[in-house]
Amino acid sequence: MSTVIAPAREAVRAVDRVAAARRRVSAGETLGQTLMMAWRALKKMRRNPEQFFDVAFQPILFTAMFAFVFGGAISGDVESYLPLMIPGILSQTVLTTCMATGTQLREDLEKGVFDRFKSLPIARIAPLAGPMVADLLRYTIAATLTFGMGLVMGYRPGGGAGGVLAAILLAIFTGWSLAWVFTWVGTIARSAQAVQGISMMILFPLTFLSNAFVPVETLPGWLAAFVRVNPVSHLVTAARDLANSAVLSGEVAWTLLACLIVVAVFAPLSVRSYKRHM
């Protein structure tokens, strides 16, 4: 260090730097910074492969388990249950995956590097949105494995490849949108464990009090009422319509609308509580 003679550099002049300073972050810069943060998150995933355990095992395990346990009782046999169940598992898997976003963000926030992110002249949303962009990879893996497992077990989606692809894309988008809820939880909770607990409390009613695994008609009236308005039910129905009959139903629109509302509410909330953080 001291022995190295630094190459002659132009002296730093403060007045020039004040004059050249930008007043705010542009939309283009925000996007670039978000993608850099996504790059960081991908590097992190590659070096901690255990982050892929949930997205790899859950679809395989749950698909087999639910099909054999519930198949006979609900649809008579496993094979006729699959068209009903696979889109349900798809929604559940994607939701569980986006829950991890909050826990990981919370752990990340406690690290020193977030101090530096805060001190850099970058968009406040970039450190939050970056990992979510990287998480698209996890959703894709989870969704693809769910359908793959279904195919292995004898599921033959009537909607064809196009319908299945559309269902997967819709599920990924929903997962990304709902991840903002868990990101927000990640910025307000005191510890990663707390995030986990709160997220479970949000997640379980949403997935199990939906039409993901059972027909709504079998439920008592008050429960059916909740199940019908539950956004997860809309996603499940939309995914069934797309995968099983390639129908672009109104459910798709409802799902997209619910997603946009969630992002519009929880993205600003997350940024606000992140700014207050630390």
Binding site: A14, V18, G112
Partner: protein, 341 residues
Amino acid sequence: MSITELGRTGGGPAPGGDTDPAVRVEGLVKTFSGHRAVDGIDLEVHPGEIFGVLGPNGAGKTTTLRMLATLLKIDAGRAEIFGVDVAGNPHVIRQLVGVTGQYASVDENLTARENLWLFGRLQGIAAPRARRVATELLGRFGLEEAADRPISRFSGGMRRRLDLAASLITRPPLIFLDEPTTGLDPRTRGQMWDTIRGLVADGCTVLLTTQYLDEADQLADRVAVIDHGRKVAEGTPDALKTTVGDSTLQLLLADPDEVPAAVEVVRRVLGSDPVLSPERGRLNVALDQADLTADVLIALRAAGLSISSVSVAKPSLDEVFLALTGHETDKGDKTGAEESR
């Protein structure tokens, strides 16, 4: 508490037309749940100087720095950096200031090179240049060999160096260093000092916090001493040291009741009063020259006063504090925990 003005205030506006001070702080306040961690601090840092903020744990040093770096909200008072209001233009301030914290703020999951690349790219540096700057900084900080290793295997000194390198990517005109050498071994510490001096040679201004008087002495052009969120003294390190002498003779009397007699002896020999430590029977005597030790000891012997322990030390922050505030640094004070995060 009055502010002791020590000696001349060095520095002054640097030639080159930079008329605004690098940092101007007036009446800065930060309150954590009712406790005023920073309680009305005024500072003025001139461009091109190294300014040291000296104080014990929990004095409010880190909190002050974090407010100036836009990491904490300013509760009251005003702060300007190169004439730009900190609270009103956080985005501009972040482009002017490089921050190196007490705890290395680099990404554990990335290699050293990837860290520098990420921070460069985030600040809008084009890919080829970000790569070049990363390589240059790794070389300058002696990290080439470790460049592609994960940070988790780095030593404390290497992390600090990488952390400082990461603050220099855009060559900010003002650099904040929060206790840059705490926890480093003496050799690494000396290297860090050289690096910090090099920054100023480049035209940067440095604001650093430290708990060590010798570090402030080695590096800083001017020093502000902070205690309980307030500035208790400001001046050159030399002026600061004169208040406590060049070295300190620490005496422990065998009989604590003989303290008044010992004070009388010291006054006769040196013409100044020793500082009484809260510990019974302990006296700290500021000496202009270490040679005077013998004179004091001989005089004590002649007066028939018995000493159970004696040592001569460089004045530490404790002595400065004792001399300036009349109380010792509160080492066990729990306010330190609030300050650290």
